[in-house]
Symmetry: C2
Subunit: 339 residues, 2 copies
Amino acid sequence: MKLGVIPGDGIGVEVTAEALRVLDVVVPGVEKVEYDLGAARYRRTGEILPDSVLHEVRGHDAILLGAIGDPSVPPGVLERDLLLRLRFELDHYVNLRPAKLYPGVRTPLTGEPEIDFVVYREGTEGPYTGNGGVLRRGTPNEVATEVSVNTAFGVERVVRAAFERARSRPRKRLTLVHKTNVLRHAGGVWQRIVNEVAAEFPDVTVDYNHVDAVMIHLVTHPERYDVIVTDNLFGDIVTDLAGAICGGIGLAASANVNPERLFPSMFEPVHGSAPDIAGQDKADPTAAVLSVALLLEHLGETAAAARIEAAVRADLAARDPENPGGTREIGERLATAVA
Amino acid sequence: MKLGVIPGDGIGVEVTAEALRVLDVVVPGVEKVEYDLGAARYRRTGEILPDSVLHEVRGHDAILLGAIGDPSVPPGVLERDLLLRLRFELDHYVNLRPAKLYPGVRTPLTGEPEIDFVVYREGTEGPYTGNGGVLRRGTPNEVATEVSVNTAFGVERVVRAAFERARSRPRKRLTLVHKTNVLRHAGGVWQRIVNEVAAEFPDVTVDYNHVDAVMIHLVTHPERYDVIVTDNLFGDIVTDLAGAICGGIGLAASANVNPERLFPSMFEPVHGSAPDIAGQDKADPTAAVLSVALLLEHLGETAAAARIEAAVRADLAARDPENPGGTREIGERLATAVA
Ligand SMILES: CC(C)[C@H](C(=O)O)[C@@H](O)C(=O)O
Ligand SMILES: CC(C)[C@H](C(=O)O)[C@@H](O)C(=O)O
């Protein structure tokens, strides 16, 4: 197994170190190539993602990414030209984000909600294409457009992946999330394709929710969701709320997957580089560690993945929520637990 | 005062009756013209919003709307051609949505959050313009686009209104909500205009949050928001979450405002027509009643508006959350309380 590692910026560096610590215990001897992409390199050389690096990265089995972004770089530059570029160039059309409330974890929700769903967020089109432009920039007559591009090809492949996942889960439920009553062009193709693919999966119960209604359900009845399939932007929004109700994005893992394995998939915590707490051993590395579990699962190392998840589950159940420990301490605890 | 009333569909009819009951007590003798727009009329005549009605409605001082939408009509038809058409034709560029957690109201959030902010949602452009289209519809090569249109003109006027509101509030804080790191064309004009207008409001503290981060903050630290200004789609999403954490959209009022009063403003609960509970005296009319308070405030009837808010506040504090009463009962209680 050959792994590309992009620790990135801020806490990305710290949590990646702990994720690798755990990986080295469950699957010793993985070959790793580290790339110093991110704010520091950009400041030093002006490079964000050199073609040579992209070419090299394409040859790995998977990529582990920490987090990208730093106040020293204009907002959006690294996000678009590094993170999103990787997702697009490596055709990560499934952005997979599990939402699970583990026992013992504090949720901001009252009651004792049961939360266990996965979001299949489309990763290569929708409003994330960069299409659109600006006319008369900086004038009182400026017009800025942003074009969401949705293709039957792009929608069908993620919808199909989501149905397959739904079929494999006990509840076998799939919910399309969109805003079809307003975005009728894009909503039309999403709804049509979900209807069509549904015919091939008669065992899966299919449902539809407007994205605004999802906001309500997630804080009042999150147990209703099993598999959510949605577009790039709605997926971004919904998964941050999902992370928050599952105890915070310090616990939320994600996978950017190219299911055909034409390109390496990329695994990253949902959280960002959090410059405000960077370098202080404060970040929770659990999301990065769980991202390693997703990585191993993707590569067929199911038992190793399960060991990590079990270690995390036990650690979360035993943690003092007021005092979970520092980045390194949590990483060491998890590494010991998986041993 | 001449009021156009559009009860609409489902529970819209029931809650509007209670809202008018309260209005008649605080401001007796308001002239009302009721319009039977909605699903029933569409089924009967095929008409959604005849030009003659639109013309007549333009002459009123304000519009009170219940809710629109029914399973008998294809999804989106009435929403777009009635509700959104009214917002666009009457140039309701400020979609004002207060989020306040009243004492005694149950929130799905733990702790005792303090929630008191207002959302200034742009109401006439963004992804709601209907721009875009479909190529090769229904084929494997379908391409559907959805174009968000953002003009300096359109952004500035809602941003300015939001700054004015922020200045009038004790905390004087304004947060722009967008996704500038990805939607850089649209995000650019929003951020630039907020920066420019901020220079005229040195007493207002200005902040920026990505829409995904707002998801997290709203369930963990909702007290941080005072005035939020955002685009049409993000505003739709954020205000449903805001409603949910303030006790549910059965309590969430909204105003579609044309601040220059070139056209009548329109007041409506945030909730929909809820066909599943329609006609059962189950809907909470509080959001519709609070929408009347917004209407009166807009028309300068500040004292009458305050009486309604005080009555609602007292009623909410006294309610049994398990058993708040039926639609009519709550309406009668509020009407008695304002008397
Ligand atoms: C950093 C940003 C570009 C990214 C996104 O919007 O996809 C992030 O929010 C995420 O969810 O991974
Ligand atoms: C019904 C729908 C068109 C509408 C919207 O998206 O604006 C509703 O969700 C709202 O928030 O008023």
